[in-house]
Symmetry: C2
């Protein structure tokens, strides 16, 4: 088995650790714009060799985990270069623009659009950890467009990773994910910004911030190079979710200004139930 | 040694576990509006007996950890009832209104206003955990108004809990804490609200929400009875922080709408540094 990772940071690096465990005989190559990233991935044992985007004919799997704008622009070239039994899977956090980029490609049916709901706020090869995907959900989009002999192969691999597969359209994916992922990255970045602007004495952040603040602002450590293209590609849904969030904040503010204590208590009690929903996980 | 806990939930319950370890001989009593809370605290071993607010003359320490509006209204009565060597400490998340409530009390100098930067999103006696305060910061306000023989006694106890003491005025405390704690509770509650409103199919939250969302929305599980009074007591600072946060969100939105990619990238990279500041902890 031969596996090519396009991009070898948190996502593909972690995947490599798991796949090396599951398929110890696999030959693993990495492809990256940055030579230093490949050297580090070799050092860390995430890949066995450097690969080339124009040498993919004998590769069984190509996993593409790079910023979403780069996925959309690279996928056609990758498909141009693969053999007839190569399966190409992307792990981008948006799906509509990526599916759109290859919808008329002659090898569209060798591609599977996927979004694993897994990750950390860190990036790069050093962020790779084993078992990142264990027990996590992976969303497959437009899977009916993937060749009927290749899709089960992917499903088998995902099962070995102990992932829970869910299918939906790329439009539905992008709409929902704006709310449960993209929006929370923006709220976290803007919280970080607001505090940094106000607390010019950084010692105060250091001393007075508790675990609650750290948790809420954690995503503000995320890679801008990774997230900016996500916000841009999913702009329509992200802006809609932002509008609703800002409108909720304004309503809260007005209620607080007018001492509408009972209203706010009722509202907060209703919101509490998100704990029950998430803790089911 | 005799210790009275007014309120026996997360904060005082956890404190009791630590103090029982440090002072195994201490007699510990609990005072609460709710008989069921006291019964549960007895069952959990958080207190040895039920106490009464009008029987505090022979008590060495009174710790008051109840919603901040109740702290402000109960403190004068508590001070009325203590003996001349009793020390009263509150653990409220606001400090100005609480200090104001007792500023002319004849026993003001037996009181110490404190805010430990510790906690979880859970509440009630069952939320009590050992070592909650270990290594955490505690902010003391207007400590110069506490009797000079009592203050060192408190500092000694806090040292035994391995807490890091920082002093500031109650006004400075309330202003800073609005940004690094109160605001993040509101951003988290409103994120929860926005997602709950949009995702009427709760299965989608369940399946598509990753650890990033869970982290950002964690504080939305917090007790409304505890937090509503905090927002009200610190309304001026909370509204100011909310205004700045909303204004940052609107600016982000406008930049996204106008595809100001470079601007947003630079901004996000600047915000990333909050990670370095917080990770120093």
């Amino acid at each position: 088995m031969k596996i090519s990772f396009v991009g070898i940071g948190l996502m593909n690096g972690s995947l490599s650790l798991d796949l090396q465990r599951i398929y110890p005989e696999a030959v693993i190559q990495g492809i990256s714009r940055k030579e230093t990233t490949l050297d580090r991935a070799l050092e860390l044992g995430l890949i066995h060799q450097k690969g080339r985007i124009d040498q993919l004919t004998d590769v069984d799997w190509v996993f593409v985990s790079i910023p979403v704008a780069a996925i959309a622009s690279s996928l056609p070239t990758i498909l141009d270069n693969v053999g007839e039994n190569t399966m190409v899977i992307d792990f981008g956090s948006t799906k509509a623009a990526i599916c759109e980029a290859v919808k008329n490609h002659p090898k569209r049916n060798q591609f599977l659009a996927a979004h694993p709901i897994a990750g950390t706020e860190f990036s790069g090869p050093d962020a790779a950890i084993p078992n990142l995907y264990d027990g996590k959900t992976i969303i497959l989009c437009e899977a009916e467009q993937t060749r009927s002999d290749l899709l089960p192969r992917a499903e088998k691999l995902l099962k070995k990773l102990n992932m829970v597969v869910r299918q939906m359209s790329s439009l539905a994916h992008d709409k929902h994910i704006a709310y449960v992922s993209h929006l929370s990255h923006i709220t976290s970045f803007m919280l970080g910004k607001t505090v940094l602007e106000k607390e010019t004495d950084q010692q105060n952040i250091f001393d007075m911030a508790g675990s609650g603040f750290a948790s809420t602002v954690r995503l503000a450590k995320s890679s801008p190079e990774m997230w900016m293209p996500i916000f841009m590609q999913n702009k329509h849904n992200v802006l809609e979710s932002l509008d609703e969030y800002i409108s909720n904040l304004n309503a809260f503010k007005e209620k607080l200004e007018s001492n509408a204590v009972e209203d706010l208590l009722t509202e907060m009690k209703n919101i509490n139930k998100i704990g029950t929903i998430l803790d089911r996980k």
